[in-house]
Amino acid sequence: MNIILECESLTKKYNGFTALSDVNLTFERGKIIGLLGPNGSGKTTLIKLINGLLVPDNGKIRINNMEPGVETKKAVSYLPDKTYLNDWMKTKDIIDFFGDFYLDFDKVKAYEMLKRLNINANDRLKTMSKGTKEKVQLILVMSRNADLYCLDEPIGGVDPASREYILNTIISNYNENASVLLSTHLISDIENVLDDVIFLQNGKVAMTSSVEDIRTNHGKSVDALFREVFKC
């Protein structure tokens, strides 16, 4: 089927604060989608809902036509915006770990990418800089043959050269059957890889559009439109 993700009247509240309100979205396979919005607009909440880390208060969310659970976790590859690996592990330990739990994990690909970045498989994560750890995490996530990749701020804490490497990794791992959801602030860096964008504001979908339509109809870059729409 063509639809990888569907949100229907999705609502999530925290202690009275509404993080997401009546969100309706549909993602098709084979697209790279940008999830854009100011801090607190609900991006991370949406991503956590996709990954089953949160449960909706109202509405439905479906991945491959299934509600979040063990089966969807097999199909979704998630990169959170923090270091989620145990420091005492060596790189090869964590690769074995991923290989153990994710049947779609490609160890060969992972080792190749590590080699290209000069990361030693015997190094303990503890000894790595924050940027290197983030690269390791990205390599792990992109070495899976998932249906949907959710990347929360993948290029945030990384130097410009690495950003380019990361974006190239994302594009070259992208196959027509998979979709990539990228949440970020650094719009001008990534807009050239995006097919579609979603603008979130105060927990609601302010706008969805293809990047092409924005450039044609609004005559400006996504970055410029963002600054307009979300002007403080």
Binding site: V55, P80, F101
Partner: protein
């Protein structure tokens, strides 16, 4: 998947125990030898004293390490940043919790067996001046309780087992409730632990009331095997199941990772 989780659990926690077990393992015979040599005059008495203290501390250390590891492992691996990895694995929350219970239970039992074996070795093996003590104490229990001896031991083992499981899940449910109710997850966990403790004290006391009303002879040692142990086992089992179900529910529906 569960076996993989369990394997990973053991791999991740083993390193905390290796050092303290090694230290205790070495100190047991070393202290024993040093203490049984009768050559310390005057000030030199500090040597055997020091070794005994070190030995005792190493055993206490094992007990402390096992509790601390159980607490920290659950919190760190499931509730803090590692939670983003573990809770998005294609496994159920039950499997995550059970894998931790299995490892925690195993380490606790290994620690207890180690401590007891160490103490037995220390106290009862032939000393250099050969005082020849043996396992009289075990026969004494048999004598005190007559036929009930075997039942006593069996029930004791069951109660100990369910007690260990109950303590582990008590820790887990406190942490789970804590992260749900409070921004500061640690304070929340401590508060939950205190409240649960109070509730279970009341609950346990209620379980013992039937004994008063049934006019049981409190001087008959068989009361232990007929009433106290079975009631304790039942009460603890019920609490353990409740702790488990609540923990699973919270991890599934009320997870609040930062």
């Amino acid at each position: 998947m569960l076996s993989k989780l369990i394997k990973h659990e053991f791999k991740a926690t083993a390193r905390y125990f290796t050092l303290i077990f090694l230290v205790a393992l070495i100190l047991t015979p070393v202290t024993k030898i040093i203490v049984s040599l009768d050559i310390y005059k005057g000030f030199l008495q500090v040597i055997p004293t020091f070794f005994i203290m070190a030995y005792v501390f190493s055993l206490i250390g094992i007990a402390i390490v096992s509790v601390v590891v159980i607490i920290i492992r659950f919190y760190q691996n499931l509730i803090s940043s590692e939670g983003y990895l573990m809770n998005t694995l294609p496994v159920t929350s039950s499997q995550l919790i059970i894998s931790k219970v299995v490892a925690a239970f195993t380490w606790t039992v290994v620690s207890i067996v180690f401590i007891i074996a160490s103490l037995i070795f220390f106290a009862y093996f032939p000393e250099l001046n050969n005082s020849g003590k043996n396992f009289d104490w075990m026969f004494q229990i048999q004598n005190d309780f007559g036929k009930l001896g075997i039942t006593f031991i069996i029930q004791f083992v069951i109660l100990a087992t369910i007690g260990i499981l109950s303590n582990i899940l008590y820790i887990y449910v406190s942490i789970a409730i804590g992260q749900m109710i409070s921004r500061n997850k640690i304070i929340g966990a401590i508060a939950a632990a205190i409240v649960i403790n109070i509730i279970t004290q009341i609950f346990s006391a209620l379980f013992l009331i039937p004994i008063v009303f049934l006019g049981v002879n409190v001087n008959d040692p068989s009361i232990i095997v007929q009433w106290i142990f079975p009631m304790s086992i039942a009460a603890t089992a019920i609490m353990t199941v409740i702790y488990y179900l609540v923990t699973v529910y919270i991890m599934k529906k009320k997870l609040n990772l930062d």
